[in-house]
């Protein structure tokens, strides 16, 4: 190859890389031009975050936290802010309703859509509005006191450039406050809709949930696509649970296969507070699910529960970081993965026990079913223990659907699709059993059933059975 052509090609690649980064600058400029009535501290946060993003750029697979997930395709795509409100009707989102929810806030392309939301009769003790509204200095009674300590106070812009990008570019999201001692019985449904258009869209939802002492709530964050176009959804949720508060958080990712979905859940748990985090990754092309609880008060407890189901070329990355900062905390991580075709799953389970956190009891389990030869899972436990009196265990398994089990079910009359589906469902149901809010669980169950049935139907029985013989090792301990 001649030097001239090589130089030309290098210019080409540089151009394609440089141009997409411009789109973020453009979005940042557009946002500033909106001159929103935000408090100054928020503007400062954004500026700081923007500088960090600009300096660092996107991570590469040389970055330890991104070893198994390349965001090159994301970096190459020139995502843009959605310029105007997309017209989404109540009818279009009817299929996505969560029966039995206390209220529903809908965000379309990152902006609050009051017309299709439903927060008419709220239970006592629940305050909810859009985050942009909560921060709008021109509104009476808004910008709740203390919010500047909370918003941006937990999600770390230095740790993760996607958090920085979200902080710089978020336009809206939900703001919830559960009053001291209030028990909100029904789940709160937050529906984030990406309505794809001609060009690749990006949205950066930002959610803040304040759960005051001894109160209780379940929040369902639900990410869906309308249309088949490419989009990036990069969300950050900060959830602050006071003393003895009990919070359940559900993440449902069911966007289209052209979507990039990155989400960060950062939870701060006070003394004796309890968290149950449930993640269900059922859709999306490239998904990165960060769950980061910090057990910041003595005797806090957390359950980190998840299911990821991928096929085609889906890439589903789960990055768990459970930090024990105070004594007597307990954490349980259970993630189950089902991967078919060329799907690639990642489970990175970090547990950090700080010097203060004596008597910590931390456990982590990752179980995976690989349904094809080309499906792949990278599972990586990472324990960093700086206290001496702790119990920490981890384990991972990788297996296939066992031919023997399949034959047993078929010998009783179930056809192959039904038998396969039943076995997949049984595996997935382990995660459902850990969900305690009936409406949210029923919602999750219906989505999981639907997803698995699609998969069972698409399976190629003949080819699959031939595979089984070679992979008779079945449940293999890998961790």
């Amino acid at each position: 190859m001649s030097g001239a052509i090589e130089a030309e090609m290098r210019r080409e690649t540089m151009a394609t890389v440089a141009k997409p980064m411009d789109n973020y600058l453009e979005a940042y400029g557009e946002l500033r031009a909106l001159e929103r009535r935000e408090p100054e501290w928020m503007r400062n946060l954004r500026d700081e975050a923007w500088e960090l993003f600009r300096e660092k750029g996107f991570p590469t697979t040389h970055d330890e936290d991104w070893r198994f997930t390349s965001v090159a395709a994301l970096a190459r795509t020139p995502f843009r802010r959605a310029a105007s409100h997309a017209a989404v009707t109540a009818k279009q989102i009817e299929a996505h309703r969560l029966d039995g929810s206390a209220c529903r806030l809908v965000f379309v392309n990152g902006r609050f859509a009051p017309g299709i939301s439903d927060a008419r009769s709220l239970p006592a003790g629940l305050e909810i509005c859009s985050l942009a509204r909560a921060l709008d200095c021109g509104m009476e009674g808004c910008a709740p006191t203390g919010i500047e300590q909370q918003l941006g106070g937990y999600a770390d812009v230095h740790r993760d450039v996607f958090v920085a990008l979200n902080t710089a570019l978020w336009e809206d999201g939900a703001y919830l406050r559960i009053r001291r001692g209030a028990a909100i019985k029904q789940p709160v449904h937050l529906l984030y809709v990406t309505a794809s258009g001609d060009e690749a869209r990006m949205i950066h939802p930002r959610t803040l949930v304040i759960v005051e002492d001894a109160s209780q709530v379940a929040v369902v964050e639900d990410y869906v696509s309308l249309g088949e176009g490419a989009a990036m959804c990069n969300s950050v949720t900060e959830l602050v649970a006071g003393q003895d508060a009990a919070v359940s958080h559900y993440l449902v990712e069911r966007e289209n296969l052209a979507s990039f979905n990155l989400s960060t859940l950062r939870v701060e748990l006070g003394r004796g507070a309890r968290l149950a985090s449930h993640s269900m990754l059922l859709g999306g092309g490239l998904v990165r699910n960060n769950v980061h609880p910090v057990l910041a008060g003595e005797g806090a407890e957390c359950l980190v529960n998840g299911l990821f189901v991928g096929e085609g070329r889906q890439h589903l990355d789960n990055y768990m970081l459970v930090e024990h900062a105070k004594p007597q905390g307990s954490s349980r991580q259970f993630y189950n993965g089902i991967l078919d075709e060329q799907a690639h799953g990642v489970f990175h389970g970090r547990i950090v026990v700080h010097p203060d956190a004596q008597k910590t009891d931390a456990k982590q389990t990752n179980r995976n079913l690989l349904l094809s030869d080309e499906a792949r899972i990278d599972t990586k436990p990472q324990l960093e223990i700086h206290a001496d009196d702790v119990k920490c265990t981890h384990g991972a398994t990788i297996g296939q659907i066992e031919e023997e089990a399949l034959f047993y079910l078929r010998s009783r009359g179930l056809d192959e699709v039904a038998a396969r589906n039943l076995l997949l469902y049984a595996f997935a149901a382990e995660c459902l059993e850990r969900m305690h809010e009936a409406p949210a669980r029923a919602f999750a169950e219906a989505l999981i059933r639907k997803r698995l049935l699609e998969m069972a139907r698409r399976a190629h029985p003949a080819a699959r059975l031939a595979d089984q013989d070679e992979k008779a090792q079945n449940w293999e301990e890998v961790g």
Partner: protein, 253 residues
């Protein structure tokens, strides 16, 4: 017409020929017993009949109820009324016993063009059969065979058989691992199902099962071939003389 007609059946696993020309005919209403030393191919025969695809049929044919059994998938054979009680019943974590049974019954009913059973239709029959087999209700809410004792697993196979009401039931060493009381209960369950329309193929090593389930015919399978057939007295003879005696006869020397 015979219910099951096996002609010159050859089958192999991973290239090893295990069945080397089995011939056997069963009529509705009959109970046949197959005996034979370990590794002689009894389970292989049972699994081939239940259509397990990991066993390759290399020669022969099998007519079941006038239809080509070897052309059927496992679920088709099951829906046509063939049932295999496994020598080693499989544990299926995460699927409740009662739910599984109802799903199986409905799959079969659907195949036959019958209406689905709802819980109201299902429960009374289920309770009655549980009682017949003296099984604990609590087991039924647990996952299929998970954490069951060996005896519980075998009884669960017979419970499934009693619920699915097959035309041809193949019992593969259902008696091994049972104590004498459990054996009596299982045999009682089987005898309660004997009828003119139904046939049984009972694989066992022991005469003690055949004391309870008295067969019409006994066959001896050695090295993939039936080397002797006779009446119930053949089992007694085997008990006395061992398989060496039949094996010696099988070798043309």
């Amino acid at each position: 017409m015979a219910l099951l007609e096996i002609e010159d059946l050859h089958a192999s696993v991973d290239g090893h020929e295990i069945l080397k020309g089995v011939n056997l005919t069963l009529n509705a209403g009959e109970v046949h017993s197959i005996m034979g030393p370990n590794g002689s191919g009894k389970s292989t025969l049972a699994q081939v009949l239940a259509r397990r695809e990991t066993y390759a049929v290399t020669q022969g044919r099998v007519l079941y109820d006038g239809k080509d059994l070897l052309g059927m998938k496992p679920e088709e054979a099951a829906c046509e009324g063939l049932f295999l009680a496994f020598q080693y019943p499989v544990e299926i974590p995460g699927i409740g016993n009662a739910y599984f049974l109802r799903t199986a019954m409905n799959a079969i009913r659907k195949y036959r063009g019958e209406d689905e059973l709802d819980a109201m239709d299902f429960l009374p029959v289920f309770r009655e059969r549980l009682k017949l087999l003296e099984m604990d209700d609590a087991l039924m809410n647990r996952s299929v065979n998970e954490g069951f004792s060996g005896g519980e697993k075998k009884r669960n196979e017979i419970l499934q058989m009693a619920m699915l009401e097959p035309k041809l039931a193949i019992l593969d060493e259902t008696d091994s691992g049972l104590d004498i009381d459990a054996l009596r209960i299982v045999a009682h369950g089987v005898n309660a199902m004997r009828s003119r329309e139904r046939a049984f193929l009972v694989i066992t090593h022991y005469q003690r099962l055949l004391d309870f389930i008295v067969p019409d015919f006994v066959h001896v399978l050695v090295e993939g071939k039936i080397v002797r057939s006779g009446g119930p007295e053949l089992a007694l003879e085997l008990e006395e003389k061992g398989y060496g005696w039949t094996e010696a006869q099988a070798q043309p020397a």
